[in-house]
Structure formats: structure tokens, C-alpha cells
């Protein structure tokens, strides 16, 4: 898949901002966006969480959740063997049921990309074609505390090794210090580093690490900033900081991409990551996506779950719907 081209992104940012993306201009713009009332936002998220998804709708939702998962392993202990196991699970999530859809992507550290690409073989490609993408975390993930040169090299190496998607982290320190221009420039530079020699580009997911931004106003501003700087996706969390993805934060980010779409016609993706383990919770996210951004967002280029244990819970629910019986953890595979 190819992301937005850098030139148009920068031009559009200039047009939207009405000036160079320096600290002052960005501050004026981001602080001019309407605030978020925390109580109201959380009430709305809770209300969406009470939708009752049954029978055929549930069946559809479970399959759709699987096809939206970035199956993830991000451990210091990751090995080529672990990645091969993860890939096998991604390709064939439920060996007992061939109708089970594949996940959208596997998500690994940059140095594991070659092993993932190798293990996928012919299954490597665009999720729209029933294939599986490789996503790599980059830019000194998870803290982002490194020089720009190293972040760019990190990104370029992963893209060169065959990554289709780059999950970068923003510099939360710079954001909280009000150096919005620096955050913008880094995202724009990483976006440039996503470009391949043939002119195509890896898709860029920008991780806000909402657990470190803390306030909903910050999350909203960081979302706008990331989109203005050229991110193709905005992602909640690294999974290394608590709280990770929550429904209110995801709702808020979906409101931003909805508003961006109304304003520019461009669709930006959203990826909640970390802490979504149960099918029941994942269904609440689908409801929130459909009722906020719209149902057309429920496709792999516009919505993803960053998760590892979620897949098995969905498979158990799926088996239950098929057979009418609950089974247990020994009836789904560990990766």
C-alpha cells in the first residue's frame, strides 16, 4: 500500500495552517481547535459500549475484527523463531476452520522484518488482496528518545527490509514542551524516509502514546498535528505505557479523522493498540468506528487493532458461534 505523497501533505498542511509549520503557527492552530469535555466524552464512549451486538451482526463483527488485527510481538526476547510462529498464526489463525479470515498485518521490531517477510513468502502483500502486510515499529520505539538521524536510519532500514507499514512514535517531550514544529518536522522527515526507491511509500502510523499525553485536549491536538504532518494513521499507544488504548481516546481520535475527512476529503486511519484483549471490547470499538467515522472505516487501510492476545479470544467466540459450545484455551493455538 502506498501512503500520501509528501509533497501534497506538506502543501496541504501549509494551506490548512496558513503559514509555515513553526511553533507559533502550529500553536495558534492547534489551540484554536474546540476543547474536549472529559465527562461528556467518556459518557458518549460508555453509551456506545452498551450497544447489543447479537447473532448475524456478531458473526460479521468477529470476522471483521480478525481481518483488522495487527498481530504483534514487541519483546526484547523476540527471535526469528518467534516471528515465524507469529507469521504462521497470522496466515492461518484457526487450523480447525479454513473459513477464518487472515489478520491484516504482523507488527514487529525493525530487525525482525526480514524474518517476517521471509516467513510470509507468497502471503506477503496488501490485506485488500487477502494478503498480510509487515508493519515495523521504528524511530527508537517505544520512547522515541534519540536523535533524528538515528530515527530516520531506523525507519529506512525497516522499509528497505520490506516493511509495508512504519509505526513511528512522536517525541512526547517536545510536544509537552510546546515544540510543535519539531514534532511536525520529525513526522514529515520520517514520512520521507518511508519512501522507497521506486517512488512508492510505506504507510506511516504515528503513535501518540496517549498515556503520556494524559489530557484529551493534548490527544486531540497531537492527532491534528500528526495528520497535518502527513501521517496515514494515528495510533494510540506503544503498548509499553499504561493506560494504553481506551475507548474514549479512540472515540476522540475517530472524531478527528472524521472532521479531517469533512474538511479535506482525505481518509486517515486509526489504530488503538494495547490492552484490547476481549472480543466484547473489540466489538465496542467497531461500534464506535461505525457510529463516529462511518462504516467505511471498518477496513484494513482505515482501522486496525494493535493486539496479540485478542486474536485467540475472537477465535474462541467464533468457535462458540459455529458449534454452540464454549471450548477453552487449548482449542486455539499459541503463537
Amino acid at each position: 500500500m502506498s501512503g500520501t505523497s509528501l509533497v501534497t501533505a506538506r502543501e496541504r498542511a501549509l494551506a490548512v495552517l496558513g503559514g509555515e509549520p513553526d511553533d507559533a503557527t502550529l500553536r495558534r492552530y492547534l489551540h484554536g481547535i474546540a476543547g474536549v469535555d472529559a465527562v461528556g466524552l467518556e459518557q458518549r464512549a460508555a453509551a456506545l459500549g452498551t450497544r447489543s451486538i447479537k447473532t448475524t451482526s456478531k458473526r460479521w463483527a468477529l470476522d471483521r475484527i480478525i481481518s483488522l488485527i495487527d498481530l504483534t510481538t514487541l519483546e526484547g526476547a523476540d527471535t526469528p523463531g518467534k516471528v515465524r510462529s507469529l507469521v504462521a498464526k497470522a496466515v492461518n489463525p484457526d487450523p480447525a476452520d479454513a473459513t477464518t479470515p487472515r489478520v491484516a498485518a504482523v507488527c514487529v521490531y525493525g530487525d525482525m522484518v526480514p524474518y517476517a517477510v521471509d516467513a510470509l513468502g507468497g502471503a506477503h502483500g496488501d490485506p485488500d488482496d487477502g494478503l498480510i502486510s509487515v508493519a515495523a515499529v521504528a524511530t527508537a520505539f517505544p520512547s522515541g528518545r534519540s536523535s533524528l538521524e538515528i530515527k530516520l536510519a531506523d525507519t529506512a532500514e525497516a522499509v528497505e527490509a520490506g516493511a509495508d507499514e512504519i509505526d513511528m512514535v512522536i517525541d512526547r517531550g517536545a510536544f509537552l514542551a510546546g515544540r510543535y514544529g519539531q514534532v511536525f518536522d520529525q513526522i514529515a522527515a520520517v514520512k520521507e524516509a518511508c519512501r522507497r526507491p521506486d517512488g512508492t511509500s510505506a504507510s506511516l502510523k504515528v503513535i501518540l502514546e496517549t498515556g503520556e499525553l494524559v489530557t484529551y485536549d493534548n490527544v486531540r491536538r497531537a492527532s491534528w498535528l500528526s495528520i497535518l504532518a502527513g501521517g496515514d494513521f494515528i495510533k494510540t499507544s506503544t503498548g509499553k505505557v499504561q493506560p494504553a488504548a481506551t475507548l474514549p481516546v479512540t472515540l476522540l481520535m475517530l472524531e478527528v479523522v472524521r472532521d479531517w475527512h469533512l474538511m479535506t476529503g482525505q481518509r486517515i486511519g486509526v489504530k488503538p493498540a494495547g490492552g484490547i484483549r476481549a472480543s466484547k471490547d473489540a466489538i465496542k470499538y467497531l461500534v464506535t468506528v461505525a457510529e463516529t467515522a462511518g462504516e467505511e472505516w471498518l477496513q484494513p487501510h482505515l482501522f486496525r487493532f494493535g493486539a496479540s492476545s485478542l486474536l485467540n479470544d475472537v477465535l474462541l467466540q467464533r468457535q462458540k458461534m459455529t458449534t454452540g459450545h464454549y471450548s477453552g484455551p487449548d482449542y486455539v493455538t499459541i503463537d
Binding site: 474546540a34 476543547g35 474536549v36 469535555d37 465527562v39 461528556g40 466524552l41 459518557q43 458518549r44 452498551t50 450497544r51 447489543s52 451486538i53 447479537k54 447473532t55 448475524t56 451482526s57 456478531k58 460479521w60 463483527a61 471483521r64 472524531e255 467497531l286 461505525a290 457510529e291 462504516e295 471498518l298
Partner: protein
């Protein structure tokens, strides 16, 4: 398939064990009424639910007499602590039977089950819990030591929140030591009659609460009965005015909670997404059948178009349909009569030059339905900006400055509630200070809590319900000279075991046992 066409998720009606015929609940037992019985129907399907007894003047007299007996012999002699025990018991039983009550309420009223389940019934329990705690602390209600109950309270409630309005009326009345004759609305008697069964289950002494059903003439007979010491009414301003005339010159105390045409004021610095939710919740909650509904949207002119556009997008996602489906957002209009009134006033709006926009919803064939509707280009002189529509219809007006917003908000014969949306805390305080409305919500709307007083200015009525203030409607200060000398009836000094207060509880227990065998 479309995911958003969620598969049906209906709440089961199997939990209800309804009778085919309901009598009047007088002196702890169900008795036949002497008027012509009437049917209660489900407004969503027009299907008959049950036959309901109709109380005539003689029945009203019986109910008032039962309440007087219970007051004289039992309830006024009981300690506050023991009254509190009964109220706690009722609250717990409401919680235990919450699902049943929610299903009955949605069936009879037409409101979505998610509202009766998540709002109405939990608040009913909260109201009884709250006032249960007050029963033995009346010395601190603000009327000095040893305040006195008034006696027999006649209470007439509307159809929009049948059970919640019952709780608002009965809980403080009983806590303060009064006995009650309550008349639910003609179109929504069901949950009150199930509540009567709960009273039997709670072994409340007979006659302390009497529930009589019937139409307006039953209510009029009750209110004008000379054995009544206190009248509490929630409903339309027209009926409220008639009641005020009727009781003028008597020594009956009156509280009236009447209509409203609340302004929901949205400033240009409002948290916009939450404001949209608040506008929706303000006027489309309970199909707009809310006396404190935010039916006049006052939006700052510079964000008018954006707000209206976002509102239309949001309204397009509302789901209208079967009230018992757990995913329904907008249920049925309570009665054909009300539907006609909403239609009539909407047509007036169009004739006056306002622009009507209705959410695209499929309207079911049977039952009474009205799609969520907003009117733009509404002027302050329009009837739809002046009169209470009591339906899912929002009138959008604009303002330029805070002063203009306040002036327009106050320019109404009503004054029940108002809403303010802004990120600026100082503005919230400054504007709220100048709004003549009993309740002002800031960055939220239609939130209720038993500890918060509720009531209106001007034609929205008088008196307050809820909180410590709500007790004042059911108490009078001790006669001069007696406050300090006579021991409080509410205090623990005269506590007697519940059973010894009267022989009557035995009968209540019997009734409860009979009922118990059915469940």
C-alpha cells in the same frame, strides 16, 4: 450486509407476569374500581396490555380515608428510623426487580429499554435510598427541630417518566411521615401497579400508599377532596393552573412541577462534539417527552452552520424503533393525542417560515412515531420557540453576545431548566447567575440526582423536589413553643418495633405471601 443495521436485540418480555386486569390499590389491597375500566396499550404497537380499573369519587374517598387511617394510627406514630427501614426495603426491591420494571415501563410508555434500564429504574432506586436516609434526620431538613408531617398527600403524576415521577413523589412524602394517594397517568399506569405489588412485598403498612388509576376527572376528584392536606402535581401548565385555582382558599399545601421551554445555550468556544451530544440528549432523550428538555437551542451565530451540520450528521445515526430493542435510541410517542399535538405544532413551525429537517428513519406501520426533527430559521416570535411541544422537535435560534443569549433564554413564560456550553468556567458562572431557571446544567444536560433540588420559576411551577429542599414540600415547622419541648417523632426516642405499631401489617404480610406464591 451493513454492520450498522444491527441484528435485533430485543429484551425479553418473559420476565413480566402481568395480570389481565388491575384494580385500585387501596388500603394495601387491590380492589375493583367503580368507574368504567379502561385499557392500557403499548404505544409502539397499539396492542392491548391490560385492563385498568377506573376510580370514581367514591373510590377516591375510600383511598383518602385509608390514607388518613394509616396516617393517624400507624405512619405518624412510627419513628423516622422505622419509616427509613421501609424505604430502604422498597429501594432494594426496586433494584431486585429492576429488569421487570424496565420492561414494563418501556412496554407501556414507549421509551427505549436502554433508557428505562440505565436511567429511569436506577434513579427510582436512588431516590428511595436517598430519602430513606433522611427519614430519621428531619431535624436537619432546615425547618428547625421536630418538623411535622402534613398528613395525607394527593399526588398526580405524568406519563413521561411514570415510575421515576412516582419515586420523586412518594419517597420524600413517606420519609417526612405523610401518607399518600397517588394517581398515575391514564396512559401509563402499569409500572405504578407493579410498584404496588412491591409495596405488598415490602410489607408497607396498608393505606400508607394508595394508588388509584383513572383519567383527569379522577385526578380532579383527588386534588379537591377535603381530606387531603397536600397536593403535589407534575404535568402540564394548564392543569397546574386549574389545580392552583381549585385549592386556592383551602389550607392545602401545593407544589407544582409544570412545563418548560428550556434554552440550551452553545457558545463558540464550546467543546463541540460533547455539545452536540448534549443537544441530542437534551431534546431527543425520552422522545423529547421531558419537561426540562432543551427544546430551544440558542447557538452563537458564528458557529450556527457548523453546529447544525454536525447535528444533522449525528441525528442520522439515531435508531428509531422497537422500544424493547436494546439498540433503540428513539422509542414511540406516548399516545395518539400527543403525536397529533407534535404534528400540529410542527406544521405551525413550517407555516411560520421555519425550515424543517427530519432524520431519515423508517417509521413503523403501527404505533405512534415521530422522527427526530430540527427547525432552523426559527425566530423568537415563532410559536415553536414559545410553546412546549413535548416531543422530539428542536428549535434552533441564534445569538451574538452573552447578554443577548441570557435575554433570549429568559424570554419565556417558563423557567424550569437551561444549559450552558462553553470551555470557559468564568462564563458558566456568570451566565448561570443570570438565568431564571430552576436547574442550570453546564456542559451537560438532563442529568438527575436525588440530592439535587429540581423545580421551576414562573409558569414552570413552584416548590422543589429532590434534595433537602424536596423535604420542605412535605413538612411544616413545629408549632411555636413545641420544637424544643416535645420529643421528636422522627427521633429514636419513640422507636417502636415495626410490628407493634399497628395490627395492620399482618394483613400486608398476608397479601405479600399470596403474591409471593405467584413469583
Amino acid at each position: 450486509m451493513s454492520f450498522l443495521e444491527y441484528a435485533p436485540a430485543p429484551e425479553s418480555r418473559a420476565i413480566l407476569s402481568l395480570r389481565d386486569h388491575y384494580g385500585l390499590f387501596i388500603d394495601g389491597e387491590f380492589v375493583d374500581g367503580r368507574g368504567t375500566p379502561f385499557q392500557t396499550i403499548s404505544p409502539a404497537t397499539e396492542e392491548r396490555i391490560a385492563e385498568i380499573a377506573n376510580a370514581n369519587e367514591a373510590d377516591v374517598a375510600d383511598a383518602v380515608a385509608a390514607a388518613r387511617r394509616a396516617y393517624d394510627r400507624t405512619w405518624s406514630r412510627m419513628s423516622g428510623r422505622d419509616r427509613g427501614k421501609y424505604l430502604f426495603r422498597i429501594a432494594r426491591l426496586v433494584q431486585e426487580r429492576a429488569r421487570e420494571l424496565a420492561v414494563a415501563e418501556s412496554l407501556d410508555n414507549g421509551k427505549p429499554i436502554k433508557e428505562s434500564r440505565d436511567v429511569d429504574v436506577p434513579l427510582v432506586a436512588a431516590w428511595f435510598f436517598y430519602y430513606a436516609g433522611w427519614a430519621d434526620k428531619l431535624d436537619h431538613a432546615g425547618l428547625g427541630a421536630n418538623p411535622r408531617a402534613l398528613g395525607v398527600a394527593a399526588q398526580v403524576i405524568p406519563w413521561n417518566f411514570p415510575l421515576l415521577m412516582l419515586a420523586w413523589k412518594i419517597a420524600p412524602a413517606l420519609a417526612a411521615g405523610n401518607t399518600v394517594v397517588l394517581k398515575p397517568a391514564e396512559t401509563t399506569p402499569l409500572s405504578a401497579l407493579i410498584f404496588a405489588e412491591i409495596l405488598q412485598q415490602a410489607e408497607l403498612p396498608p393505606g400508607v400508599v394508595n394508588i388509584i388509576t383513572g383519567a383527569g376527572d379522577t385526578g380532579a376528584a383527588l386534588v379537591s377532596h377535603e381530606g387531603v392536606d397536600k397536593v403535589a402535581f407534575t404535568g402540564s401548565t394548564a392543569v397546574g393552573r386549574a389545580i392552583a385555582k381549585q385549592v386556592a382558599g383551602t389550607d392545602k399545601k401545593v407544589t407544582l412541577e409544570l412545563g418548560g421551554k428550556a434554552a440550551n445555550i452553545v457558545f463558540d468556544d464550546a467543546p463541540i462534539d460533547q455539545a452536540i451530544e448534549g443537544i441530542v440528549n437534551g431534546i431527543f432523550f425520552n422522545q423529547g417527552h421531558v419537561c426540562c428538555a432543551g427544546s430551544r437551542l440558542l447557538v452563537q451565530e458564528n458557529i450556527h452552520d457548523e453546529v447544525v451540520e454536525r447535528l444533522k450528521l449525528r441525528l442520522s445515526t439515531l435508531r428509531l424503533g422497537d422500544p424493547l430493542d436494546k439498540n433503540t435510541d428513539i422509542g414511540a410517542i406516548n399516545s395518539r393525542e400527543q403525536l397529533e399535538r407534535i404534528r400540529e405544532l410542527s406544521d405551525v413551525g413550517v407555516a411560520e417560515g421555519a425550515e424543517r429537517w427530519s432524520a431519515p428513519c423508517e417509521i413503523p406501520e403501527n404505533g405512534f412515531w415521530y422522527a427526530p426533527t430540527i427547525f432552523t430559521n426559527v425566530q423568537t416570535s415563532s410559536r415553536i420557540a414559545r410553546e412546549e411541544i413535548f416531543g422530539p422537535v428542536l428549535s434552533v435560534l441564534t445569538f451574538r453576545t452573552p447578554g443577548e443569549a441570557i435575554a433570549k433564554a429568559n424570554n419565556t413564560p417558563y423557567g424550569l431548566s437551561a444549559g450552558i456550553w462553553t470551555d470557559k468556567g468564568s462564563r458558566i458562572l456568570a451566565v448561570a447567575d443570570q438565568l431564571r431557571a430552576g436547574v442550570v446544567w453546564a456542559n451537560t444536560f438532563n442529568r438527575f440526582d436525588p440530592s439535587s433540588p429540581f423545580g421551576g420559576y414562573k409558569e414552570s411551577g413552584y416548590g422543589r423536589e429532590g434534595g433537602r429542599h424536596g423535604l420542605a414540600a412535605y413538612l411544616s415547622p413545629a408549632p411555636i413553643g413545641q420544637a424544643a419541648t416535645r420529643p421528636s417523632l422522627a427521633g429514636p426516642a419513640t422507636t417502636k418495633p415495626i410490628e407493634s405499631a399497628d395490627a395492620a401489617p399482618k394483613r400486608a404480610r398476608r397479601a405479600a405471601t399470596t403474591k409471593g406464591s405467584k413469583r
